[in-house]
C-alpha cells in the first residue's frame, strides 16, 4: 500500500473522473504500488443511495454544467452521462458484448470512417481478464457471432416470458437469438450477490450484483491506497514550458478553493465531452488550440449509437417487469456492415426483452406519448401486463464534422468555457436504424403481437472526440491512450474509440483501460 500525501505533494498518478475507465486504471495502478488520486467532479454516492425508483435514480445522471447542443441529432448528454462516484457506469444497463474484429478495420475494409490502431486480438486478452474479474453472465457458444475469447464465467440470465414471446418472432423469421451477455451476476460471484431480476439496474444496483465501479474496481483501488476526492472539478491540465510534459492538474473544490495537484502521470477519464473540454481549456500561448491538439483533431469524430425501440402488446402476460433492464436475449444477425438494404451501412444488434417500468423516459407511459386522459389510463392497465419491448444498438459512423468544442461566450461558475457539441447521424446510419426498425416490427408481428409500434430515433452512448490512431497528424492518442503530444498525459474511456461498432461500449472501455494500465506500468512515462 502507498500512503497518499495531500494535494500539493507530487503523486505518481492523478486521474480525472471515477467511472468505468478511471476505476480500472486506479485499481491496476494502485495495486502495482503507484500513489493514485482520483478527482471526481460530482458528489459522493454509496450503494445505500441507490434507491429503487426511476425518479430517485435520476440523481445519478449528469447534473453539472450544461453542454450546448447543436446539430440535427442531440447526443442526449444529460441522459447518457453520469456524475458523482462511478460516473456514467453507475446507471449502465450492464450489456457487455465485445466489439467484433471488423469494427477495428472500418476504413481499410470499406473506405469510410477510421481504423483503430490495434486489432481485436490485441484486446482479446484484456476482454478475457476483465470478464473474469468482473463476472459476466452469458452463453458464449450460443452467441455464434461472438469473436474468439474465453467462455463466460457464469451461466446466462434466465429467460422470462417476455423474452420467450419475442424469441418466437425471431425464430419464425429465421433470425437467431442467444442469451444477452451481462455484467450481472446470475449466481453469487466472488463474494458479490446474485441478481434478483427486479429491473432496477439503471437506478443503481445497491447489492453488488451489477458490476458498476462501486462493486468492483473502486473498492480494489481504495483497498490498494488510492484516494477518491469528490466535488473536485478539474479545470486545467498543467504543463511544462514546452507543453510536452504534463505536470499535474488544477482543480476547484466545492468551497471554491483552487488547488494544484502534481503527478508524474495525468489520466483524463472524465467522459468523451468533458475530456476535450478540459484540453481545450488548458490551451497555452504555445498551444492556442488546446493541449494535445497538434493534429487539429481534438474534439472531432464524436459518435453515438442511433437506436429505436420496438414495442408490442401480446395476448399473453409478458411479465415485463422481471429481468435485467438491458434485456434477456441478443441478436447480432445484422452485424455484417455491408449487407443491408439501399444505402444503409454498419452493424447493429438487438437487446431483447428489456425490463420495463411504468414511468420515465423509456418507461411504458412514454412509449405512447400521444395518449392522454382515459385512453392513457386504459393503455397503462393493459400494457402493464401485456407489453414487450426490445431496442437496437446501431453503428453511428465517425464523421470529422461531429465535434466537441468550447463556447466563446458561455462559461461555468469557475470561468471555464462550456462544451459545445455538434452532432448529426450519417445518412447511412439513419438508413440502418430504419432497416432495424422495420425488422423489429416484423419480428413482433411474427411473434403474435396484437399491436406494434416503434419509438423515434434516439442517441445511445457517447464515443469519440479524442480518437486514438497510429498517425499523430490524424489522431489525438496512440493505442494506449497516450496523447501523441504529451506522453505522460493519457486519455481513457469511450472518447478514444475511432469507431462505435454496433455494441454497447462499457466492456470495451474496461478492456482498453486494462490494456493501457498494463502497458503504462511496463513503460512508465513519469
Amino acid at each position: 500500500m502507498v500512503l497518499l500525501a495531500d494535494a500539493g505533494q507530487a503523486l505518481d498518478v492523478v486521474i480525472v473522473g471515477s467511472g468505468a475507465a478511471a476505476s480500472v486504471m486506479a485499481a491496476l495502478l494502485a495495486e502495482a504500488g503507484k500513489s493514485v488520486l482520483l478527482l471526481e467532479t460530482g458528489a459522493e454516492r454509496q450503494s445505500a443511495n441507490m434507491i429503487s425508483s426511476q425518479i430517485w435514480g435520476r440523481r445519478m445522471k449528469w447534473g453539472g454544467e450544461p453542454v450546448l447542443d447543436a446539430g440535427r441529432h442531440s447526443v442526449a448528454y444529460n441522459f447518457n452521462m453520469g456524475r458523482g462516484t462511478g460516473g456514467s457506469a453507475m446507471h449502465q444497463y450492464a450489456v457487455w458484448p465485445r466489439l467484433h474484429p471488423a469494427d477495428f478495420t472500418l476504413a481499410s475494409d470499406h473506405g469510410v470512417g477510421l481504423d483503430w490502431p490495434l486489432a481485436y486480438d490485441d484486446l482479446r486478452l484484456h476482454y478475457d481478464r476483465v470478464q473474469q474479474e468482473v463476472g459476466i453472465s452469458g452463453d458464449a457458444a450460443a452467441e455464434h457471432w461472438r469473436p474468439e475469447g474465453a467462455p463466460y464465467p457464469m451461466g446466462p440470465v434466465p429467460t422470462f416470458p417476455q423474452g420467450r414471446i419475442i424469441a418466437r418472432g425471431f425464430e419464425r423469421l429465421n433470425l437467431s437469438t442467444s442469451p444477452l451477455p451481462l455484467a450481472i451476476n446470475s449466481r453469487v460471484y466472488q463474494g458479490r450477490a446474485a441478481c434478483l431480476w427486479d429491473g432496477w439496474c439503471d437506478a443503481g444496483c445497491p447489492i453488488g450484483a451489477l458490476a458498476n465501479p462501486l462493486a468492483v474496481y473502486l473498492p480494489r483501488a481504495q483497498q490498494a491506497g488510492a484516494v477518491l476526492r469528490h466535488n473536485a472539478t478539474v479545470t486545467r491540465v498543467l504543463t511544462d514550458r514546452t507543453d510536452r510534459r504534463a505536470l499535474g492538474v488544477e482543480y476547484v473544490q466545492a468551497n471554491g478553493e483552487v488547488r494544484h495537484q502534481s503527478a508524474d502521470l495525468v489520466v483524463l477519464a472524465a467522459n468523451p465531452i468533458q475530456n476535450p473540454r478540459i484540453l481545450f481549456a488548458s490551451g497555452t500561448r504555445r498551444s492556442p488550440t488546446g493541449l494535445a491538439n497538434s493534429s487539429g483533431k481534438l474534439g472531432n469524430y464524436l459518435m453515438s449509437h442511433p437506436t429505436v425501440s420496438t414495442f408490442g402488446l401480446f395476448v399473453e402476460e409478458t411479465y415485463s417487469y422481471y429481468g435485467p433492464k438491458g434485456g434477456q436475449l441478443l441478436c447480432q444477425d445484422g452485424y455484417q456492415k455491408d449487407q443491408h438494404q439501399g444505402h444503409a451501412f454498419g452493424s447493429y444488434q438487438w437487446m431483447i426483452a428489456q425490463a420495463l417500468k411504468p414511468n420515465d423516459l423509456l418507461g411504458i407511459a412514454n412509449s405512447r406519448p400521444e395518449l392522454y386522459g382515459t385512453k392513457l389510463t386504459e393503455f397503462m392497465a393493459r400494457a402493464a401486463q401485456h407489453i414487450a419491448t426490445m431496442a437496437t444498438v446501431c453503428e453511428g459512423l465517425p464523421m470529422q464534422e461531429n465535434r466537441v468544442g468550447i463556447s466563446a461566450k458561455s462559461k461555468d461558475k469557475y470561468g471555464m468555457p462550456l462544451a459545445e457539441v455538434t452532432h448529426s447521424f450519417a445518412p447511412s446510419s439513419l438508413a440502418l436504424v430504419e432497416e432495424a426498425r422495420q425488422e423489429g416490427e416484423a419480428v413482433f408481428r411474427a411473434a403474435g403481437a396484437t399491436e406494434v409500434w416503434s419509438s423515434g430515433v434516439n442517441a445511445m452512448h457517447i464515443m469519440g472526440g479524442t480518437v486514438m490512431g497510429t498517425s499523430p497528424d490524424a489522431s489525438v492518442t496512440n493505442s494506449y491512450g497516450q496523447t501523441h503530444d504529451i506522453p505522460n498525459l493519457v486519455i481513457a474511456g469511450a472518447g478514444l474509440f475511432p469507431t462505435s461498432g454496433g455494441v454497447n461500449p462499457t466492456f470495451t472501455i474496461h478492456a482498453l483501460a486494462r490494456r493501457a494500465a498494463t502497458y503504462l506500468l511496463d513503460h512508465w512515462p513519469g
Partner: protein, 188 residues
C-alpha cells in the same frame, strides 16, 4: 377529483413519497398528496400557475392532481440541479428549470386567452382536450416560446406519470410488483 380523502386514502394516492415542505419555521416531511390535502403554501408557483398545472396535468394523466403533482413540481424546483429528480434534467433544457415551467405556463395562458378568451383553469373538459390536442400536435398558433408546445406537454405528461405511476402505490394500481432493493423514503 378526490375532495376529502381520508388519511389512509391520500397516502395510498400519494405517489411521490415524503418531501420536505417549509411552513413558517417548520419543515414538514410529508407526501405531495398530503401537502395538497393540507393546502400547504407553494414556494415557486403562484395560484394561477398551480391551477393550470393541476388542470392540465390531471387531464393528461388522470390522478395526477390527487397524487400531488403541483407540490411535487413546486418542491423539486427548489432543489439544486444535481439533486433535482424531475425528468427535465436530462431533456437538454438549461437550468434553472423553474424558468422553463413558468415561461411555458405563461405561454399557455396567453394562448388560452387568445383562443378561448379565458384562462386555462376556466376551460371546460372538452376545451382542455382541444388544448392538449393542439399542444401535442404543435398546432397551437399563439405559443410564444422557444421550446415547442409539444415539448412542454411531453414534459408535463412525464411529470404527471411520475406521480401517478412511478411509485409503489402506482405500481400497485397497475397490478405489478415494485420489488425495491432500497425502497424510496416511505411511502415511496
Amino acid at each position: 377529483m378526490m375532495t376529502n380523502p381520508s388519511r389512509r386514502r391520500f397516502i395510498a394516492a400519494g405517489g411521490v413519497g415524503l418531501l420536505s415542505f417549509v411552513v413558517g419555521d417548520s419543515c414538514l416531511r410529508i407526501s405531495p398528496a398530503e401537502a395538497r390535502y393540507k393546502k400547504l403554501p407553494l414556494g415557486n408557483l403562484n395560484a394561477t400557475q398551480a391551477s393550470a398545472l393541476e388542470r392540465l396535468g390531471d387531464a393528461l394523466v388522470p390522478g395526477a392532481a390527487d397524487s400531488g403533482l403541483v407540490y411535487f413540481l413546486d418542491q423539486q424546483l427548489s432543489t439544486s440541479t444535481e439533486d433535482c429528480m424531475l425528468m427535465i434534467r436530462y431533456l437538454g433544457v438549461a437550468p434553472p428549470y423553474k424558468d422553463f415551467y413558468i415561461q411555458s405556463l405563461a405561454a399557455l395562458e396567453t394562448a388560452c386567452l387568445r383562443r378561448y378568451q379565458k384562462d386555462s383553469a376556466q376551460l371546460s373538459a372538452s376545451q382542455v382536450a382541444q388544448l392538449i390536442d393542439a399542444l401535442l400536435s404543435g398546432s397551437l398558433l399563439d405559443w410564444q416560446q422557444s421550446l415547442p408546445a409539444a415539448f412542454f406537454a411531453f414534459v408535463l405528461r412525464s411529470d404527471a406519470s411520475d406521480v401517478v405511476y412511478g411509485t409503489e402505490a402506482g405500481f400497485d394500481r397497475l397490478g405489478i410488483p415494485y420489488m425495491a432493493h432500497i425502497p424510496p423514503p416511505a411511502p415511496w
